[in-house]
C-alpha cells in the first residue's frame, strides 16, 4: 500500500505539473456548467437532476482522457522498465495510478459543489432542499468514475500510443453507457441483462438517493475487474 501511495503521489504531481489537469478539469466544468445551467431555469425545479443526467456522458469522454497517458507513456519512454525493476508489485503500480486518476476526478467534482450549494437556496418558501439525491449523485459519480478509470487504465496498459488508448477506452466506456438504451424494444430477459450491464442504469438508481448494494457491487466489481486486467497486462509487458 505504501508503494501504491508513493506512485499515486507522483502521478498527481505529474497531472498538476502539466497542463493536462487544468485543461481536463476546466473543460469538464465548462461543459457541465453550461449544459446544466442553460436548462435549470427552464425546468423550474431546484434539483441537480439535470447535472447528474449529463455527467455520465461527460465521464465517458473525460475518464479516458485522464487515464490514456498513465501507462502508455511509461511504455513509450521506457520508464516502465525503471518502475517495474523497483521493488513493486504490478498491482501496486496499477492501484497507485488508479488512485491518482480518481483523485483528479474528485478535484473536478469538488469544483461543482457550488452547484448544489447555490441551487439549495432557490427552493420555494416553506419547502426544504432534498440533499439525499445530491449525496447519492456524487457518490454514484465517484463510483461510475472509478469503473471508467479502471477500464481506461487497462486500455492504457495495452497500447503504447496514448491516442489509441483513449479511443479504445472511449469505445468501451461508451458501450457500458449505451448498452441499455435499446432495452425496451428487446425481450424482457435480454433487456434486464443489458440493464444490469449498463453503467447509466445503476447510476440512475443511486442518483435517486437510494443506495442499493447491488448498484455499488456492480461498480466495485467492474473497477476490480479493470484493475486486475491492467495488472495482468503489465505482467505480460515483462514478456
Amino acid at each position: 500500500m505504501h508503494t501504491a501511495l508513493a506512485i499515486a503521489r507522483r502521478e498527481l504531481k505529474t497531472y498538476f505539473n502539466s497542463p493536462i489537469a487544468y485543461i481536463v478539469i476546466g473543460v469538464f466544468l465548462l461543459v457541465a456548467g453550461w449544459l446544466y445551467f442553460s436548462t435549470l431555469f427552464l425546468a423550474g425545479r431546484a434539483s441537480l437532476r439535470g447535472f447528474f443526467g449529463i455527467a455520465p456522458v461527460l465521464f465517458v469522454v473525460f475518464a479516458p482522457a485522464l487515464t490514456m497517458r498513465l501507462i502508455a507513456e511509461e511504455r513509450k519512454t521506457g520508464t516502465l522498465e525503471l518502475l517495474l525493476t523497483m521493488p513493486v508489485r504490478e498491482l501496486d503500480v496499477v492501484v497507485g495510478k488508479f488512485l491518482a486518476a480518481l483523485g483528479m476526478v474528485a478535484v473536478g467534482l469538488l469544483w461543482t459543489l457550488p452547484y448544489p450549494l447555490t441551487v439549495s437556496t432557490l427552493t420555494a418558501e416553506g419547502t426544504s432542499f432534498d440533499w439525499g439525491p445530491v449525496v447519492g449523485g456524487y457518490l454514484g459519480l465517484l463510483l461510475m468514475a472509478s469503473s471508467f478509470l479502471a477500464i481506461g487504465l487497462w486500455c492504457s496498459a495495452m497500447s503504447r500510443n496514448q491516442i489509441v488508448a483513449f479511443i479504445m477506452a472511449l469505445l468501451v466506456c461508451f458501450a457500458f453507457y449505451f448498452v441499455d438504451k435499446f432495452a425496451m424494444v428487446l425481450p424482457e430477459t435480454l433487456g434486464e441483462l443489458l440493464e444490469y450491464l449498463s453503467v447509466d442504469y445503476h447510476f440512475e438508481n443511486i442518483a435517486r438517493g437510494v443506495i442499493d448494494t447491488r448498484d455499488v457491487v456492480f461498480y466495485l466489481s467492474l473497477t476490480a475487474l479493470g484493475l486486475v486486467l491492467t495488472s495482468r497486462s503489465l505482467t505480460a509487458a515483462r514478456q
Binding site: I7, K13, T14, T79, E81, L82, M86, V88, R238
Partner: protein, 335 residues
C-alpha cells in the same frame, strides 16, 4: 526455555547461508522472444565484491541477461539467483537488493532531480528518517548538487546518466547492474563515470555492459563475453589477452660482414618453439633483416635470442606486442 535458543540457531544458520551465497548465480538461462532465441543456455556465477564487465556484440544477449537479473524480463527456462533468491520466485525481494541502470537510462523527464530521487526513495521504502541522508550521499557521490532543482528533461546527457546512477545507488544495494553506463557520453564524462563505478566497486558487486573494451581493462577484474546468446569467454582481462598470444618484432644484423640469407633466417625463425607464423617486414638499415613473428601462448623471445647468438647474428631490436582485447573480442564473437 528451549524455544528461544532454537529460534536463534535457525536465525544464525540462515544468515550464514545467505552471506556465503554468490551474489549472482545464473544457471542454464534461455530466453526466446517469439521466434528469436536471445539466450541459449548461459551459466555463470559472480562472487560478492567483484566488478564484472559484460561484453558482446549488439543483440548478443547482454541486455536480456541484465533485464532478467533486474527482474524486468522473465526467462523462458533456467534460473537466475540474486543473493541466493530466485528472481522468478520472489522478484520483489531480489529487486530490493539491486540497483539497476537500464539501457538508454529512461527517466521521468517532467520531474525535478530532487523530486525524482525522493520518489525513488519513497517507492524503495527507504524509511522517512533515513531518506534525507541517503539522498544527500547519493547526490554527493554523483555530483548532482548543482542540478537538484532542474527538470530532468533539461539536463545534459552526462548529468542524466548521473541521475540514473544516483537512483541506482540511493538505497545502498549490494548489487549494481549497469547497462551501458557510459554510452553517449563525451570522453571527460566517461572518465568521471568510470571512476565513480570503480569507487562503487570497492564495496559492491557490479555487473556492467559496455562496448568500450578499454573500459573493461581499466574498471573490471573479470570479463564475460557473450555471443549469439552463449557465453564464449569468462576470464580476467589480462588472461584473456595473454592466452591469445601476440606478435614479436625482431630486427637482425650480420655479426662479421657476411650478409644474411633472408630465406635461411626465416626458416630458422619458423622452426623456433612457440612461433606460429613469420612474415618479413621492411629492414631498417643496410644489411639488416626485419621479421614479425606471430606466437601463441608460449613467449618465443628467449628462443629468438639464443638462436641469434648461436647462428652469429646480432639482435638489433626485439619487442613484443600483446594481442589487444579488441582482437580477442573479434575472434571470439565472429559468427
Amino acid at each position: 526455555m528451549n524455544i528461544v535458543p532454537a529460534f536463534f540457531e535457525v536465525e544464525g544458520c540462515e544468515m550464514s547461508v545467505s552471506t556465503s551465497q554468490p551474489m549472482i548465480r545464473i544457471e542454464n538461462l534461455t530466453k526466446a522472444y517469439g521466434a528469436t532465441q536471445a539466450l541459449r543456455g548461459v551459466s555463470f556465477e559472480v562472487p560478492r565484491g567483484q566488478v564484472v564487465g559484460f561484453l558482446g556484440p549488439n543483440g548478443a544477449g547482454k541486455s536480456t541477461t541484465m533485464k532478467i537479473l533486474a527482474g524486468y524480463v522473465t526467462p523462458t527456462s533456467g534460473t537466475a539467483r540474486v543473493d541466493g533468491i530466485d528472481v522468478s520466485e520472489d522478484p520483489v525481494a531480489t529487486r530490493r537488493r539491486i540497483g539497476y541502470l537500464p539501457e538508454n537510462n529512461p527517466l521521468y523527464e517532467d520531474m525535478m532531480v530532487r523530486e525524482f530521487l525522493d520518489f525513488a526513495a519513497d517507492v524503495r521504502n527507504v524509511p522517512a528518517g533515513e531518506r534525507p541522508a541517503k539522498i544527500k550521499s547519493a547526490v554527493e557521490r554523483c555530483g548532482l548538487g548543482p542540478v537538484l532543482g532542474k527538470d530532468i528533461g533539461q539536463l545534459s546527457k552526462g548529468y542524466r546518466q548521473r541521475v540514473g546512477l544516483a537512483q541506482a545507488i540511493l538505497h545502498n544495494p549490494d548489487l549494481l547492474i549497469l547497462d551501458e553506463p557510459t554510452s553517449g557520453l563525451d570522453p571527460n564524462q566517461i572518465v568521471e563515470i568510470r571512476s565513480l563505478i570503480k569507487e562503487l566497486g570497492r564495496e559492491k558487486t557490479v555487473i556492467m555492459s559496455t562496448h568500450i573494451l578499454s573500459e573493461v581493462q581499466s574498471t573490471c577484474s573479470r570479463v564475460l563475453i557473450i555471443s549469439g546468446g552463449k557465453l564464449v569467454a569468462d576470464d580476467s582481462p589480462e588472461h584473456l589477452t595473454e592466452s591469445e598470444g601476440g606478435v614479436v618484432t625482431v630486427v637482425l644484423a650480420p655479426k662479421n660482414g657476411t650478409p644474411l640469407e633472408a630465406g635461411r633466417v626465416r626458416s630458422l625463425l619458423e622452426s623456433l618453439p612457440g612461433v606460429s607464423a613469420v612474415s618479413a617486414i621492411a629492414p631498417d638499415g643496410e644489411g639488416t633483416l626485419g621479421f614479425s613473428l606471430r606466437h601463441g601462448k608460449l613467449d618465443p623471445r628467449r628462443a629468438v635470442f639464443e638462436a641469434a647468438v648461436q647462428n652469429g647474428m646480432i639482435l638489433l631490436e626485439m619487442r613484443r606486442q600483446q594481442v589487444s582485447l579488441e582482437e580477442t573480442f573479434r575472434k571470439l564473437t565472429a559468427a
